[in-house]
Amino acid sequence: MDSRDSAHSQISLRYRKGDLIMKEGDYGISIYYVKKGHVRVSKKQGNSEIDLATLGPGEVFGEMVFLNKTVETRSASVRALDEVELEVWHPASLSREYNQMPPILKFITNQTLARLTTMNRMYAQLLKKKKSVRRGHAHEQRGDTRKYYRKEFNRPCTYRPLNGPDKPPLKGLVAEISVAGASMTVGSRNTLAFKHTVDDEIVVFTSLPSGRELELPCIITAVNKDHAPGDVHIGLKFMELDGETAKAIGFFMIS
């Protein structure tokens, strides 16, 4: 063991199989070192979760927030796969060392970090594509099997791809809405800026007649280009809505 070890606080944590150790989206700055056992790193994608990695003794997680100063929340969830013992490192002392490390190592580390992020995204996209090919047939029918009553809405909206590059938002019209989803009409020119395909995730911004603003993360469930020339009809299913938004839509539905 290195003498510098004493500079780091040595708090140990134990977890049992299945325990959630870190939750995607939560705030947190600690770094965890796996002493015993194995953990699984996973990330949300739409309504499902994809596994990014399995880590074992000697490996570290929770490092993204520490290394990437523009990230404030956990970029993935971590669960215990068996009996797990972790050492918690507070980032303060590591941070000092990191800043004093030879610039070339920082230069390399930053590139590795950027590459890992890119590779994770590539893997997630590939996984999504494979899944949608497998489920291809089911999608065609999804638009016909509505479980919820839809109400006419006809209000303008803007939208943009979720997790995509920050481009100017696109414009459309929310034609109908339900508590679980909506249908949107957009000009076919919009498809030049963003290829609307089933399973793409977008955020739609619109407002209720009362003036209440709505921010709706959605998954595209259907794309229909044959309704009217120049128009594309898009079926949307809401992803997790926050309680207040869901309530506001609920009130609108019965008003």
Partner: protein, 132 residues
């Protein structure tokens, strides 16, 4: 990308490659670390259904750095191929090794994990891309 000025101090050699020339090959053994000085390099990996491009690296990009952090694995994870004429710098591996050795076990582990995860993800991508 701007090349960090400190990098030049580690450069021991420069090499030029014509378009399409392989700079390092997947599964071959080697621990040289490269930096792109001019031109572009494609990082490619084989799958059961053919070769896929994982990344295109430009000026300032480091490649071949994985063995620095994961000592046991000297086999190259992917192929690096010149995309147009390329000039690369070769970095002093022994000196980089010493710098890494001088880090605390914590920091070294942290960087090592990043590298391992990067490599694992590249393998996952290649596996998935090769599936039907």
């Amino acid at each position: 990308m701007e090349i960090d000025s400190s990098v030049y101090g580690y450069m021991v050699d420069e090499q030029e490659y014509p378009d399409k020339k392989i700079i390092l090959e997947e599964d071959s053994i080697g621990d040289w670390v490269y930096i792109v000085l001019e031109g572009e390099v494609k990082i490619k990996k084989s799958t059961k259904k053919g070769v896929i491009t994982l990344a295109t690296l430009g000026k300032g990009s480091i490649f071949g750095e994985m063995p620095l952090f994961v000592k046991r694995e000297k086999r190259r994870t992917a192929t690096a191929q010149a995309h147009g004429p390329v000039r690369v710098g070769i970095l002093d591996t022994a000196r980089l090794d010493r710098e890494i050795e001088s880090l605390s076990p914590q920091l070294r582990n942290l960087i090592k994990t990043l590298t391992k995860r990067c490599r694992e993800t590249m393998k996952n991508i290649s596996r998935l891309a090769g599936e039907d």
